[in-house]
């Protein structure tokens, strides 16, 4: 398996595990408005290790880690406004 395929699979599986956990948690906030999910469950590694660990790490750190792993977009200007930073006007070239 190539590094690209590995990253693709990592993203696919991790996103799915996180989505399942989020559906459960958010659904509990809206009792009576949801059905029992028929989405296929994930394995114990994702459920009991990955999801709780992912949630413990602060978002800013996670974002850095995703960037380091090249999971975020490259070739795009670093976002004009960092998360947590107030808006600033675009830089002027003149």
């Amino acid at each position: 398996m190539t590094a690209a395929e590995l990253k693709r699979r990592l993203r696919q599986r991790s996103e799915y595990a996180l989505r399942l956990a989020a559906l459960k948690d958010v659904g509990q906030r809206y009792p009576g408005r949801t059905a029992r999910s028929a989405l296929p469950p994930v394995g114990p590694f994702w459920r009991f290790l990955f999801v709780p660990l992912f949630r413990r790490v602060p978002w800013s750190f996670r974002r850095q880690a995703m960037r380091r792993l090249n999971m975020t977009a490259r070739g795009w200007p670093e976002d004009a406004r960092h998360f947590g930073e107030p808006w600033r006007p675009p830089a002027r070239s003149d």
Binding site: L18, R19, L23, V26, R36, R63, A73, F83, P86
Partner: protein
């Protein structure tokens, strides 16, 4: 000899790319290849033509091939490009080689197919090509029962359309609530009710197990975890998958979603090759994580950027904040960026600001309740997402919110925003303001409760 640009794909992005390239550089020789016979039609309007809200399919055709030819484009319709040679700078179509200097790939998407028994039966319908849709529309006159599979928004639109057409419609999806990949439960609930009002039987938490065919090889039932559902047709509305076969054949870099990686100029990893539309991935403005499968307006804008740059301009495309919206029956839902469920999944911290207002003065006929839910970053209260539902004005509010979120607006900004008050078109107190004010009040209360 003028430079030659080849555009592959005649959908929104391909058409935009070819047109804008020619407009920016009239000396460019622009050739567009499309495997389909038609150009410039609206596939997004297909469900509404089936539902007879649009009386005739021909209204969906916005222009003709001839008009593009008159604009100076070399239009190769019903011509599939089978090979690209980047070293020789040629494409092969109908066993003929055509040279190019620059290339834009706009090969779009393919529908995800269900991996269950019977998925190759006749009578499984995918919404894409307008000619096929027109044939399908005639078949609908003789059909009574339809099963719509998949919880993406097309499934909701098709369910509503087929119900309006008088069919007995069963909608099935594995998720715990309608559109659970995108929408929060509080927004899904009225959307589901609106579908049910039209007569659609919505079966959430229902797994597709397979398709059962008759002796004629045509689907006659859909097997699900809720039992067997008899039908004349099954409409499949799963995910859009980037159509990257040509891109892969020339070794373009693919990203973490299996789509073509581009930069903010729509440049691919190969020099002189751009890509736009459903086969590429672009970053979400909040997380910078690449995403794909966006709307027609995104594809169109990306095509314009790719076309302009291929013609020698210098245009950039921003990371996306994705305003979205659509009709579920007679009800409108929409949003931008992320909702609670996605924020929760990504582990993004947020506070919620909710409010309900009216779309125009409450005494004016036609006023509709407008529900607004905003997500903001704790501390700075910067806007990071939201979901809305109601009647008129949802679309415009979502467009506005996506734009101001991109520009860094906070709940404070929105709480004190100016708005139009004119009884037939706008209420005194804008629903977005109400939600933001409520959010600020909640935030202030929470701060007061924190022990010193």
């Amino acid at each position: 000899m003028s430079e030659r640009l080849v555009v592959i794909g005649g959908g929104g992005s391909g058409t935009a790319a070819a047109t804008i390239a020619k407009r920016c550089n009239p000396d460019l020789h622009v050739t567009l290849f499309s495997e389909f016979p038609d150009i410039a039609y609206s596939p997004c309007g297909i469900p509404y033509a089936h539902g007879r809200e649009i009386p005739e399919f021909k209204s969906l055709f916005l222009s003709t091939v001839q008009r593009y030819v008159e604009d100076g484009l070399d239009m190769r319709m019903e011509t599939t490009v089978t090979d690209i040679d980047l070293d020789r700078r040629t494409v092969t179509a109908r066993n003929k080689h055509e040279g190019f200097d620059k290339l834009i790939l706009c090969t779009g998407f393919l529908w995800e197919q269900p991996a269950v028994p019977g998925a190759n039966l006749e009578g499984l319908h995918y919404v894409k090509d307008i000619r096929r849709a027109m044939e399908f529309d005639k078949e609908l006159d003789h059909m009574k029962r339809a099963v719509v599979i998949g919880g993406m928004w097309l499934g909701v639109e098709m369910s509503g359309a087929l119900a309006r057409r008088g069919l007995d419609v069963q909608f099935i999806d594995e998720g715990p609530w309608l559109l659970s990949e995108l929408v929060d439960p509080d927004v899904a609930e009225p959307a589901q009710e609106a579908l049910e009002k039209l007569g659609v039987n919505v079966r959430m938490g229902t797994k597709l197990l397979g398709f059962t065919g008759g002796a004629d090889g045509r689907v006659r039932a859909v097997s699900t975890s809720a039992g067997e559902l008899e039908c004349d047709v099954a409409v499949i509305c799963l995910h859009k998958l980037p159509n990257t076969s040509l891109a892969t054949s020339i070794g373009l870099e693919l990203g973490t979603l299996g789509a073509v990686v581009v930069d903010d100029h729509m440049r691919t990893s190969a020099p002189g090759v751009w890509a736009a539309g459903d086969l590429i991935e672009v970053p979400h403005g909040l997380s910078m994580l690449p995403i794909t499968g966006l709307t027609g307006s995104h594809a169109y804008a990306q095509g314009r950027v790719a076309g302009a740059n291929a013609a020698g301009e210098d245009r950039t495309y921003d990371p996306v904040w994705i305003p979205w919206g659509f009709m579920s029956g007679d009800y409108t839902i929409g949003g931008f960026s992320i909702g609670e469920t996605l924020a929760e999944a990504m582990g993004i911290p947020y506070v919620v600001a909710k409010g309900v207002g009216v779309s125009r003065a409450r005494y004016f006929p036609g006023a509709a309740r407008t529900h607004v839910k905003l997500l903001a970053e704790p501390g700075t209260l910067r806007l990071i997402g939201g979901q809305l539902h109601g009647g008129e004005g949802i679309k415009e509010r979502c467009d506005f919110l996506a734009f101001v979120a991109k520009r860094g607006a906070t709940l404070d900004d929105l709480a004190w925003m100016e708005n139009i008050y004119s009884p037939p078109i706008g209420a005194l107190y804008e629903p977005i303001q109400i939600a933001a004010q409520n959010g600020l009040a909640e935030h202030a209360r929470a701060r007061e409760q924190v022990p010193a």
